[in-house]
């Protein structure tokens, strides 16, 4: 974002790799099933029922997926509000992850909606229902998806401005004989596209900060509302999760999940693209995580104790086991990050990031699905088709990420780091790509 273009680089490499085609396979299976769903109804592809009207499409794709997509939000909070600019190089890849996470959460909802053709009602003030938590979430998520795309625009505009249009020119050569496009017109057309892109870029740069701040405000609103959403389920949600603190817990939860996603995603893409690990920046992020997770844990446990839920916490039934797993995953991985040594090991950073995402995600899953009990006689387990649709949507996210980082300048430029504020200057691996992507300095 911003005008710091030399901070980022286009990831070199082929577009059509083996993972590309594996992911494409999952995408196609998912899309085929989605098409089938629109002809046969939601029931034909899901294990949903009137008792469990929401399944993994909501619990994972929306409630958990958007938290995994909070990297952009969490980093923006750190950079622009906390004034920690050394993390700026990480933000574009985080924003890109967020773009996919949010847009595809929206897409999942459309697949999930029974009467999707009426969704235009969200844009008709006469149908707005201010009491509805979902109304707030829906408008907020739609706005935030737009804001995310705007935040990503500088990377696109930069590419448009500096593109040599090789592929356009090449395909025009191929077309030349048959369709006779005017070579001069084409040239001037492409030049003006570049010019306009450059022009817009300058303008956008001036107002971008207002979108960035909007991109901090909106997730604060809808992430907390995602928690409020289940308050109305009342006694259907187990008292281990049903509390007036749901909005607060969801908000804090998405912040530490956001940071763990940044850790997870950065290490994973450094590994697979054989880049140097951004241990320097990540260790700084990892230092904050235990505090937010700890605060979350304090609110979570304090609330449970205050509501006399200790017997339920240790009842060792289904709910209690999932509760303990959730607490253990979050507590354990946050504890890992307390040790400075662990924060400088890419392996530990990756592990704790992954575990924290898992634990934080499990909390949301518990609230939306596992702790939800509509009464006797109802049960839910996702069907294969339902699961494959979610898998397809995740595949679109990864595929899109892999593709776009090779087209637009998204990845941090390893030769360009921010000067450090004199802190933790050990194990700088800038420019040294370890063989096989394995971190050398451990």
């Amino acid at each position: 974002m911003g005008s710091h273009h030399d901070e980022y680089q286009v990831q070199p490499g082929k577009l059509f790799t083996k993972p590309f085609f594996i992911l494409l396979f999952f995408v196609l299976v998912g899309v085929a099933l989605i098409v089938y769903r629109f002809f046969a109804g939601v029931g034909a592809v899901t294990g949903l029922s009137d008792g469990y009207p929401w399944g993994i499409w909501i619990a994972y794709d929306v409630a958990t997926g958007t938290a995994f997509a909070c990297g952009g939000y969490a980093l923006a909070l750190l950079i622009y509000i906390m004034n920690r600019w050394k993390y700026h190089p990480l933000i574009r890849s985080a924003i890109l992850t967020s773009v996919f996470g949010y847009c595809l959460a929206g897409f999942s909802v459309v697949v999930d909606l029974g009467r999707y053709w009426n969704a235009y009602g969200f844009f008709m003030p006469s149908r707005w229902q201010g009491n509805s938590v979902m109304f707030e979430v829906a408008l907020c998520v739609m706005s935030y998806s737009t804001v995310l795309i705007i935040e990503f625009l500088p990377a696109v505009l930069y590419t448009l401005e500096h593109s040599k249009w090789k592929w356009v020119r090449e395909s025009s050569h191929w077309l030349y004989v048959r369709m006779i496009p005017d070579a001069d017109a084409l040239h001037s057309g492409l030049t003006s596209v570049s010019k306009v892109a450059g022009h817009v870029q300058v303008r956008l740069d001036k107002v971008l900060i207002f979108f960035i701040v909007l991109g901090i405000t909106l997730p604060s609103m809808h992430q907390s509302s995602l928690g409020s959403m289940m308050i109305i389920a009342g006694e259907k949600l187990s008292p281990l999760w049903q509390t007036g603190f749901l909005p607060l817990l969801f908000l804090m939860n998405c912040v530490f999940i956001g940071y763990s996603t940044v850790m997870f995603e950065s290490i994973l893409s450094s590994y697979s693209f054989k880049r140097a690990y951004e241990v320097h920046e990540l260790s700084g992020i990892a230092r904050i995580v235990p505090w937010i997770a700890g605060l979350w844990m304090a609110v979570r446990l304090g609330d449970l104790i205050w509501r006399n839920q200790i017997p339920n916490m240790f009842a060792f039934d289904k709910n209690s086991c999932f509760f303990l797993l959730e607490v253990a995953l979050i507590g354990g991985s946050a504890f890992m990050m307390l040790a400075k040594k662990n924060r400088h090991s890419p392996r530990k950073l990756f592990l704790s990031g992954a575990l924290l995402m898992l634990g934080g995600g499990l909390y949301r899953f518990n609230v939306y699905l596992i702790g939800f009990n509509p009464g006797e006689g109802w049960s839910y387990f996702p069907s294969v088709a339902e699961f494959m649709i979610t898998a397809g949507i995740i595949a679109i996210e990864i595929l899109g990420y892999l593709t776009l980082v090779k087209i637009f300048p998204v990845m941090p430029n390893p030769t360009k780091h921010y000067a450090e504020e004199g802190e933790e200057l050990v194990e700088e691996t800038v420019g040294q790509i370890a063989p096989g992507g394995v971190y050398a300095g451990k």
């Binding site: 046969a40 009137d50 509000i81 029974g114 937010i292 004199g422």
Partner: protein
Amino acid sequence: MRSQSRRDFLKLMGITGAACLASAAPLSASTGPAADSDTAIAMLYDATKCVGCKACMSACKRVNFDQNNLAYEQLESDKDKLWDAPLDLSGNTRTVIKLYKESDTRFSFVKHSCMHCTKPGCVSACPVKAMTKDPVTGVVAYDKNSCIGCRYCQVACPYNIPRFQWDRALPQIVKCDFCKHTNLKERGKPACGETCPAGAIAFGKRKDLLVEAHKRIKENPDSYIPKVYGEKEVGGGNHLYLAAFPFKKLGLPDLKEESPTEFSEHIQHTIYKGFIAPVALYGTLCAIALKNKKAQDKLGHTEDD
């Protein structure tokens, strides 16, 4: 440097907290009293009078068939498709009679349909006003023309009343609306109450029916559980029950008197009252971010460096 980062950490905590502190703030004024209006209409189902003939079910489906695009649900053994035999409420069935059998001689029928809550969760949950509560009659009705099929109403209903047409490409939510657009409009009474040959379904003003229900308990204390179900559950509703067995055994959940709907609206309204908090948050964050950006640009981390 360490103290610097600690201060920054506190700042982060403060801002993260500020974004949501409102949610933990004490609840402000309620959105409305749970007490029902004098004009509300209601249905009193007396399980001790019901003979289980299911005439109400067939009348209900006949009258509302087209409105919800309902279908008959035949048993597999019914090869001639002669009988409508739904096992439960569904996307094809707005009301159903069930049997609770304690022994061969002690049993009770029970009618399931919408409770028409005073503070309905479905109405509060619906993002597009497809579920509405009539301010005069108190009838909770569904409008398929604005419904988006998100099924949040199903999540929100403590009685699991709204049903979805899972097997349709163009599905609807199906629930009782006291025949608002059909029998009530044309004949002044829901079809079930009009049809019932046993007098198990009384229909009228809620306040009158409550008096009647308590009178029946008082006059025949041995025949009834001393409780009118629907009077106070989650803030009360316009479908009242009398029965000889504990209501939980009949499939009617034990619910607290507090309404989760009211609690949810409390929290949402506290956070979003007048949209002040979000705007204030945006303004504050803008000020901080602009200040930080200016300082950062001065340091020379712009594209010119």
